[in-house]
């Protein structure tokens, strides 16, 4: 019998700030609950120790400005390393599935990282997925984000990757951070339909969430046929969460997990440290391990929530529309959405709430017939101290064609020549697992090779 792997890394000596929601105390009561239940002793569960994620594995996913060391603490490396340990064991066939019950979280960390946004520096799931694709030769991965906040970082990182399906349901972006994740955000011209967003109104209950799961998420997953399913297991949809306004219960989360059957779940948000986390985390572990979670109950049980039935038709219509979009994803005339140019360009403004950084990006993807196309990001980050950091970042996809690869290298060389425009110039070649960084002021290049 294969076990459920559990890495529990509560980072009891790490916090963003002493009173910040992302603080030492966050997983304390979860620790109490799962230790008292004897979860680690169950024959269905194998507790594993995390390892430190290597900076090279972070460069495969992120452009860290100016470098990895400036943006990560040991806690970040351990949180990402936890998913790597579990992923290795799962793909080697030694574990049935796994749960990285770790902090700090990561799903708001985007491709370019100037600082901390939404409590995140490093996108744990994205780092793990890119690492596993390189290390174990898998190709198709699905990431299902069940945090109350839109997983905008993960979406950003895989927006142009047709082999990574990203699905996020969350509280409607008009009512909560980060204000994105609408159903029209569907992926770039070379990965259209591989991003699906299901914004849900405040007050959504277990019943509606499971409706979305059964009628949209599971059919799409079944159709996509991923080799690995990752769940960004945020828990702030819980009815008692101080940040979110949803009405999901611990058993709702456990039921979701038991039906979604992710290979790897990674903790994201969830800040009701006492009233939700001990129960939701226990429920998720039991569901992954195939054990009965029917007796997992919050202290104020029985609490039941009802939604206004008048809201249901809207939800059903959104699910229908998205499912239709998914079916037609490769048949639609994309030029009506993205134009007919060789390069598709979009502008983005990224705000770093924790660090007060404003980043203006121009993202350009080559609409290539042979591969997902190389990506160029021109990023200008205004720091609260008035500093402006200008960055040029080039990304070559894992399954790049030779033409895109050579165009990206040419662009990198050209940017270095006219070096007065940028402080940092990066080339991330996922196809060769080689990452270059040029520091204009120092006039020096650093290379990280796998």
């Amino acid at each position: 019998m294969h076990k459920t792997g559990l890495v529990f890394f509560p980072a009891f000596d790490w916090a963003i700030e002493p009173t910040h929601p992302e603080r030492e105390e966050r997983l304390l009561y979860t620790r109490d609950q799962i230790f008292e239940e004897g979860v680690m002793d169950l024959p269905e569960v194998a507790e594993m120790a995390p390892r430190l994620c290597h900076p090279h594995d972070i460069l495969r996913t992120h452009f860290c400005v100016p470098d990895v060391a400036s943006l990560t603490t040991e806690a970040h490396l351990i949180a990402a390393g936890a998913g790597q340990v579990l992923g290795d064991e799962i793909l080697a066939g030694r574990l049935k599935n796994g749960f990285a019950l770790v902090r700090p979280p990561g799903h708001h960390a985007m491709r370019v990282v100037h600082g901390n946004r939404g409590f995140c520096n490093i996108n744990n799931e994205a780092v793990v997925v890119e690492y596993l694709r390189r290390r174990h030769g898998i190709r198709r991965v699905a990431i299902v984000d069940t945090d109350v906040h839109h997983g905008d970082g993960t979406q950003d990182i895989f927006y142009h990757d047709p082999d990574v399906l990203f699905i996020s349901f969350h509280q409607d972006g008009r009512t909560i951070y980060p204000g994105t994740g609408f159903s029209h955000e569907l992926g770039g011209p070379t990965a259209f339909g591989r991003t699906l967003n299901i914004p849900l109104p405040p007050g959504t209950t277990d019943e509606s969430m499971l409706f979305v799961l059964e009628n949209l998420i599971l059919p799409v997953l079944n159709d996509f046929g991923p080799e690995l399913v990752v769940n960004s297991a945020g828990q702030d949809n819980h009815y008692s969460d101080p940040i979110g306004e949803m009405c999901i219960t611990a058993r709702g989360y456990a039921t979701l997990t038991s039906r979604l059957k992710p290979h790897l779940a990674v903790l994201e948000g969830g800040y009701a440290v006492e009233s939700a986390l001990p129960y939701v985390n226990l429920g998720i572990i039991l569901a992954l391990a195939g054990l009965d979670f029917d007796l997992v109950r919050e202290a104020d049980y029985p609490r039941t929530f009802h939604e206004d039935p008048a809201r249901r038709p809207r939800l059903e219509k959104m699910v229908r529309d998205l499912l239709e979009m998914w079916r037609l994803r490769d048949q639609l005339d994309l030029s009506s959405i993205f134009g007919r140019e060789e390069f598709f360009r979009q502008q983005k403004e990224v705000y770093y709430d924790t660090d007060g950084i404003e980043d203006k990006q121009v993202e350009t993807v080559r609409v290539c017939k042979e591969c997902p196309g190389y990506l160029t990001i021109d990023s200008r980050a205004l720091h609260p101290d008035g500093r402006a950091v200008k960055v040029m970042a080039l990304s070559v996809p894992l399954f790049a064609c030779n033409h895109c690869r050579s165009l990206a290298y040419d662009a990198y060389a050209a940017a270095r020549k006219e070096n007065s425009l940028y402080h940092h110039i990066y080339l991330q070649d996922k196809s060769m697992d080689t990452f270059l960084a040029f520091d204009t002021a120092a006039g020096s290049e650093s290379i990280s090779e796998g």
């Binding site: 009173t19 008292e36 239940e37 002793d41 995390p50 040991e74």
Partner: protein, 562 residues
């Protein structure tokens, strides 16, 4: 002078230490009458000694281990208060349990009251089945023991003569299933252990030995015999703890070694890391069930010098069973000991019989007795070496919950094992080859055959106190005592530390031990509780213990050295 006695399954070993070092040793066969073996060994080491010179006797015993392994105890009723969470039917308890409604949460708050009628019904059921011993354990009873206390009061009101053991009194750490098993084993063994303790005292009195008597616990520390009756399960596995401590005393301080104790039936492995025996992170495992008994991390490989050697097809194998003595010592079947005898790695036993045994197994494969013996030894060495590597890996993989701990481990990762120390009957024959198989140096220390008794003799009492304090809820708990007290508002970390020291002194005084200024802080967790961006209280988890370790190190000539 100090005496150490290890009453093992095969032999009872004793040593006498005086102010200079080892003065006498004895090895006698353990007979069915444990106490006769004990007095015989005592008589041998104390010959010519005035009894009033003996300051202390330390005993390690397999009594509880065997009682439990052979299930020679009376039935125990299990009353569990699991509350919400994991379905308790998922768990395997040592006997059918009554699950009683009632719930406490992680902060010690009552979520739902105890179902007193449920306790009454369970008592009636147990009474009907003739059971008179009960273990009561509740989830989070270590944070709030009121349900367990209520349950006990109900049981004793209905059945005043019953024996009732409570989870929070025997197992204060988090882990409800282990707490239930520990309470169960306590209920199961206490009465028999009391007989044993009384008999030991009588045996010593009959030899006019009236000094303090201590019992070795699974964690390698000792406890006054009189107090060990409260938690007899703590003496589980004191045998392997004794040999580990013996090796600690017989090797230079600060070394990292693997202890290989090769007996007749099993080979016990333990780790000494930078001079300190490694404690198991999980607690002692009894009959496949984990307990909350603090124990050294001992790994038992089910092969020993008396295991049966056989041939299956073209392969030689070693069974994990003992069918009596080795063939060369008059036993029925070939064993690894016969292989050693053939190769001249031991001088015990009849050489001709050993050669016959090996030739009999290897002959049909076209192997000579010597070739067969070499293969058997290689097989044995391979089995043990594999387990050593596994054990070391397991230790390295043990989870840690803070950045600091993980970084410590990361830095220490490459400081591997260097030395294999062999003790026990098979040490002389196998140690060098086991060490070679894992790339280490072999050491067979002086007194290797009585290392366990030396370990018992050099063990010292330690006392722990674990305090949990919750300033928001205004209470503190002394986990080892099951005591709950009122915490003054605004208690600081210093206040909680002082409280822990007071309780450590109080507990130690009760056990007749003095607490020196040297106290070790074994756990120190302080969490700010933040609600709505303000600090509303603090949670402290502080554990102290009196400095443990061993009495002295013993040099090659049997003399003490610093």
């Amino acid at each position: 002078m100090f005496i150490g006695v290890d009453v093992g399954g095969t032999c009872t070993d004793a040593v006498l230490l005086d102010e200079r070092g080892v003065r006498a040793t004895a090895k006698v066969t353990t007979r069915s009458e444990l106490l006769a073996s004990l007095t015989e060994a005592l008589d041998e080491v104390t010959a010519g000694i005035s009894r009033d010179q003996i300051e202390r006797v330390n005993i390690s015993t397999t009594l509880i281990t065997n009682l439990v392994a052979e299930k020679k105890y009376d039935p125990v009723g299990l009353l569990l208060i699991p509350g919400p969470g994991l379905n308790p039917h998922t768990l395997n308890f040592p006997s059918p349990a009554h699950f009683i409604p009632g719930a406490i949460d992680y902060r010690g708050r009552e979520i739902s009251p105890l179902d007193t009628a449920g306790i009454e019904a369970a008592v009636a059921d147990l009474h009907g089945r003739g059971i008179t011993r009960v273990a009561v354990a509740g989830k989070f009873s270590n944070r709030n023991n009121s349900h367990e206390l209520q349950a006990r009061d109900i049981v004793l009101r209905l059945q005043p003569d019953w024996q009732v053991e409570l989870g929070h009194q025997v197992a204060g750490a988090l882990n409800f299933p282990r707490r239930a098993v520990t309470a169960y084993l306590t209920a199961a063994t206490r009465e028999r252990y009391q007989y044993f303790a009384r008999a030991v005292l009588e045996a010593l009195a009959s030899r006019s030995i009236n000094c303090p008597v201590f019992v070795l616990k699974a964690d390698g520390s000792t406890c006054p015999l009189a107090y060990s009756v409260q938690k007899p399960v703590e003496t589980l596995f004191s045998g392997p703890a004794a040999s580990t401590l013996g090796v600690q005393a017989l090797t230079p301080p600060g070394e990292t070694v693997v202890v290989v104790d090769i007996g007749g039936t099993t080979t016990d492995l333990a780790l000494i890391l930078s001079g300190q025996p490694l404690l198991s992170s999980r607690g002692a495992r009894v009959d496949r069930q984990l307990t909350q008994v603090r124990a050294l991390a001992v790994h038992s490989v089910p092969v020993g010098g008396d295991s049966v050697v056989d041939r299956i097809g073209r392969e030689l194998i070693i069974y994990t069973a003992r069918m009596g003595l080795p063939y060369c010592l008059g036993g029925p079947l070939p064993t690894p000991t016969d292989a050693l005898r053939v190769l001249g790695l031991t001088v015990h036993g009849d050489e001709t019989r050993a050669v016959d045994a090996m030739a009999g197994v290897g002959g049909p494969l076209g192997l000579s007795a010597a070739e067969t013996a070499r293969r058997v030894v290689a097989l044995f060495v391979e089995m043990v070496a594999r387990e050593i590597n596994l054990m070391f890996e397991e230790w390295q993989k043990e989870p840690s919950y803070s950045v600091w701990q993980i970084m410590q481990k990361h830095k220490g990762r490459h400081r591997g094992l260097q030395t294999v120390v062999g003790v026990g009957g098979g040490a002389a024959g196998f140690t060098a080859q086991i060490a070679a198989a894992i790339g280490c140096y072999p050491v067979i220390p002086p007194y290797a055959s009585v290392a366990n008794a030396i370990g018992a003799a050099v063990a010292r009492p330690t006392m722990q106190v674990s305090v949990r304090a919750d300033t928001q809820a205004g209470y503190y708990l002394i986990l080892e005592e099951g005591v709950r007290g009122v915490l003054p508002a605004g208690a600081s970390e210093e206040d909680v530390m002082a409280l822990a020291r007071q309780w450590l002194a109080k507990r130690s005084a009760r056990y007749g031990l003095s607490v020196g200024p040297e106290v070790e802080v074994t756990q120190r967790e302080v969490f700010n509780m933040i609600r709505d961006w303000r600090t509303t209280g603090r949670l402290y988890d502080i554990s102290l213990q009196t400095t443990g370790g061993i009495l002295a190190y013993i040099g090659a000539g049997g003399e003490f050295h610093a």
